[in-house]
């Protein structure tokens, strides 16, 4: 039976988390003490509980996550439900990225980028805000938002795709910080639409908005029946969008010190090294290759430009009292667009290799390197060695 390359690629992406689980069954479970993670678990179990808190809607604004996790936990046992929940959003993100890059560039770059995302440790763990925290599922929702926006420019029925894009954007706003990436999403749509889709912009915006409003209305209705509150996101908006002198992050922490740091200090954070590196490479690539008329170059540069816009918006908010760059769990939300920029970089690097059909070497090299870099196998490997050479000190 003939199997197309794309199907092999999807198979690779499906197999990766299974290999991880075989190597280390703990890899997708969170650290127990990360209480934010477990706060959400409470809603996975008791969706319509009468909470005795001062501000219950702040937590319930993550409804797009609970609306999926709650039925899963009602149908399956906790561990089975957890596996389905985590793997579903894992595939939503990785296969979503694969489909986006495949449609903008090509399937070779797509598989490399998606493998790298699958093995990216920062994606596995929003660092003490683990997989039950809204960062992780909302990344999957945002990936689908971008995918549907891209499909709008490449497929027929553009209204449907835009509607879906808007709907999933509303779902991704359970992590409200994704609203910062709307300009990047709009820029990507504009650049691709100008080249391929050529749909009118105002109707496009309208269909996107209709999708977003519909999804918000559905969540609001669920929230009304579950918690007696229609505007489930109002409280969250109030909490997050304090800025300037009123930023809540300028207050003193319980253990002393202040959450907020200056942009200069924030940029020194270790978790930003790759992100800053990609921004610098993107900036140089845009400067050097801006006159290239080749489609591959233009699309790659478009992805890098979209990333730079998102990065600069993060810088702006950091400067104005938010903590989008200084805390890893806040920077986590940049991952989808960061990987679009990486796809652009990979595409420029390998385009001739691809033409000469040497892509398989690159795919193998990348796969091996990213597998090694996750080091999920590290202890197993080391234990085997110590067992063989008798280093154990029991």
């Amino acid at each position: 039976m003939h199997i197309k390359n794309a199907n092999y690629n999807l198979l690779i992406l499906i197999v990766i988390p299974i290999i991880f689980s075989i190597a280390n069954e703990d890899w997708l479970f969170g650290v127990p003490a990360a209480s934010d993670n477990w706060i959400n678990y409470n809603f996975f179990q008791d969706f319509s509980n009468e909470f005795i808190t001062e501000n219950p809607t702040y937590k319930f604004s993550r409804i797009s996550v609970f609306a999926v996790a709650y039925p899963l936990h009602q149908i399956f046992s906790p561990i089975t439900a957890y596996y389905i929940y985590t793997l579903m959003f894992f595939y939503m993100a990785t296969i979503g990225l694969y489909m986006i890059v495949k449609n903008i560039l090509n399937q070779h770059v797509a598989i490399i980028t998606a493998i790298v995302l699958s093995c990216y440790k920062f994606f596995h763990t929003p660092i003490s805000f683990e997989m039950m925290y809204q960062n992780y599922p909302c990344l999957g929702y945002f990936m689908l938002t971008v995918l549907f926006a891209v499909l709008t420019t490449r497929k027929e029925n553009y209204k449907l795709w835009l509607f879906l894009s808007g709907a999933f954007f509303a779902a991704s706003l359970s992590q409200i910080l994704y609203v910062n990436f709307f300009p990047s999403l709009a820029l990507l749509y504009y650049l691709l639409n100008r080249r391929y889709g050529q749909h009118a912009l105002l109707p496009s915006l309208m269909w996107f908005t209709v999708g977003a409003i519909t999804m918000t209305f559905i969540f609001s209705t669920i929230s009304y029946f579950a918690q007696d509150i229609f505007c489930y996101f109002c409280s969250q908006v109030q909490q997050v969008f304090y800025w300037g002198e009123e930023s809540r992050y300028l207050g003193t922490m319980r253990g002393g010190g202040v959450y907020w740091v200056s942009v200069q200090e924030a940029l020194k954070a270790p978790h930003l090294r790759g992100i800053i590196g990609a921004a610098i490479v993107s900036l140089f690539a845009i400067v050097f290759f801006r006159k290239k008329k080749d489609e591959n170059y233009m699309n790659s540069l478009a992805l890098m430009g979209v990333y730079l816009l998102a990065f600069f918006i993060q810088l702006f908010w950091q400067a104005w009292g938010q903590i989008l760059l200084s805390y890893p769990y806040m920077t986590y939300n940049l991952i989808p667009i960061f990987f679009l920029a990486l796809a652009g970089i990979y595409s420029i690097l390998i385009q001739d290799l691809w033409k000469n059909r040497n892509i398989h070497i690159i795919v193998v090299l990348f796969t091996l390197s990213v597998f090694i870099s996750t080091q999920i196998f590290y202890d197993q490997f080391q234990s085997s060695l110590t067992f063989l050479f008798g280093f154990q000190e029991f």
Binding site: P32, Q45, N49, I52, T125, G274, I350, N356, L365, Q375
Partner: protein
């Protein structure tokens, strides 16, 4: 004589001039040749650099650099406060997850809204990082990280208790409120009554004791028995009940009056005991209920009653 010397000198100078000119010409020729060769080489190099194979090699180098960067950046990320790659498989996170979900379900049976429970839990040794210290210590590098003899003994149960706490969000770590979660360590052991304990009882009527040690459970029960007025002096009662509250204030007097009422009639009942385990990790929970019927009848302001979670006759 001088004329002869002059002729010889002139001849020498002429020869030198000729030689120098020859050398200069030769050098010039060599330089021109070198320049031409260099130019040719550069042109060849330029042409080669523009060939598809060279482009591919440069890009391949770029890919390798990307791989190196990827490996480097990936190893920089920290999971929680431990380095991801060294101790990650040693945390038994799946077992922790199973335990938390089991305890969550168990507590829900007694108190669906968690507004009647006060959790007392035994914190892990050495500020709760007993096993993690061993794993990330530099001397442990190169040695097996998951030493079997520590498995289940030095596991950080405190983290699991925090998970239980987290999953019951509508509690607060201490100080009354909607739920309480009291950590016992740093000298504040189960055999000492914590400040403000009567405030907890005022809002709750149950305590869940978490520990993996049977003796600790018994010590905690003995501690709870001590809170009856007959086992305490007036000074002890005041100290325990008021905590940081300034004496003499109207609120303090009111609070002391209520607490005395509780202490005069309080009895405790062990409602249930259960062990939880997953893998080699295990701990026990004891649920204790306070009985202060006269007090409850007099003051109908318990959170449980307020929320409608329980009816008066249930108490």
């Amino acid at each position: 004589m001088m004329k002869k010397v002059k002729i010889i000198f002139n001849h020498f100078v002429d020869e030198l001039k000729t030689d120098l000119l020859t050398v200069k010409d030769e050098l010039k020729t060599d330089l021109l040749t070198l320049k031409d060769k260099l130019k040719t080489s550069l042109l060849t190099l330029k042409e080669e650099a523009r060939s598809p194979s060279t482009k591919n090699n440069v890009r391949l180098l770029g890919v390798f650099l990307c791989i190196l960067m990827l490996v480097y950046f990936n190893t920089q990320f920290i999971r929680y406060h431990y380095t991801y790659q060294f101790n990650y498989p040693c945390q038994y996170l799946k077992d922790s997850h199973i335990l938390i979900t089991q305890v969550y379900d168990y507590l829900k049976k007694f108190d669906p809204h968690f507004n009647r429970l006060n959790i007392w839990y035994q914190a892990g040794q050495k500020d709760g990082v007993a096993f993690a210290n061993e794993i990330i210590a530099p001397e442990s590098l190169g040695k097996p990280r998951c030493r079997k003899f520590t498995y289940g003994e030095e596991i950080n149960l405190t983290e699991i208790y925090h998970g239980v706490f987290g999953s019951r969000y509508f509690s607060t770590i201490s100080g009354g409120g909607d739920g309480t979660f009291t950590r016992y360590n740093n000298g504040n052991l189960f055999d000492s009554i914590p400040p403000g304990v009567y405030s907890y009882i005022y809002h709750k009527d149950m305590v869940a004791i978490f520990s993996n040690d049977d003796k600790k459970h018994q010590t905690a029960l003995n501690t709870l028995k001590k809170i009856h007025k007959e086992n305490l002096t007036e000074e002890e009662l005041a100290k325990i009940s008021l905590g940081e509250e300034p004496k003499g204030s109207g609120y303090a007097e009111w609070k002391y009056k209520i607490i005395t009422e509780i202490a005069e009639e309080i009895t405790i009942e062990v409602v249930d005991k259960k062990s939880f385990s997953s893998g080699l990790m295990s701990f026990k929970v004891t649920i204790v209920r306070f009985h202060v019927p006269k007090f409850y009848k007099k003051h109908k302001s318990l959170n449980a009653l307020k929320s409608g979670a329980v009816k008066l006759e249930d108490l």
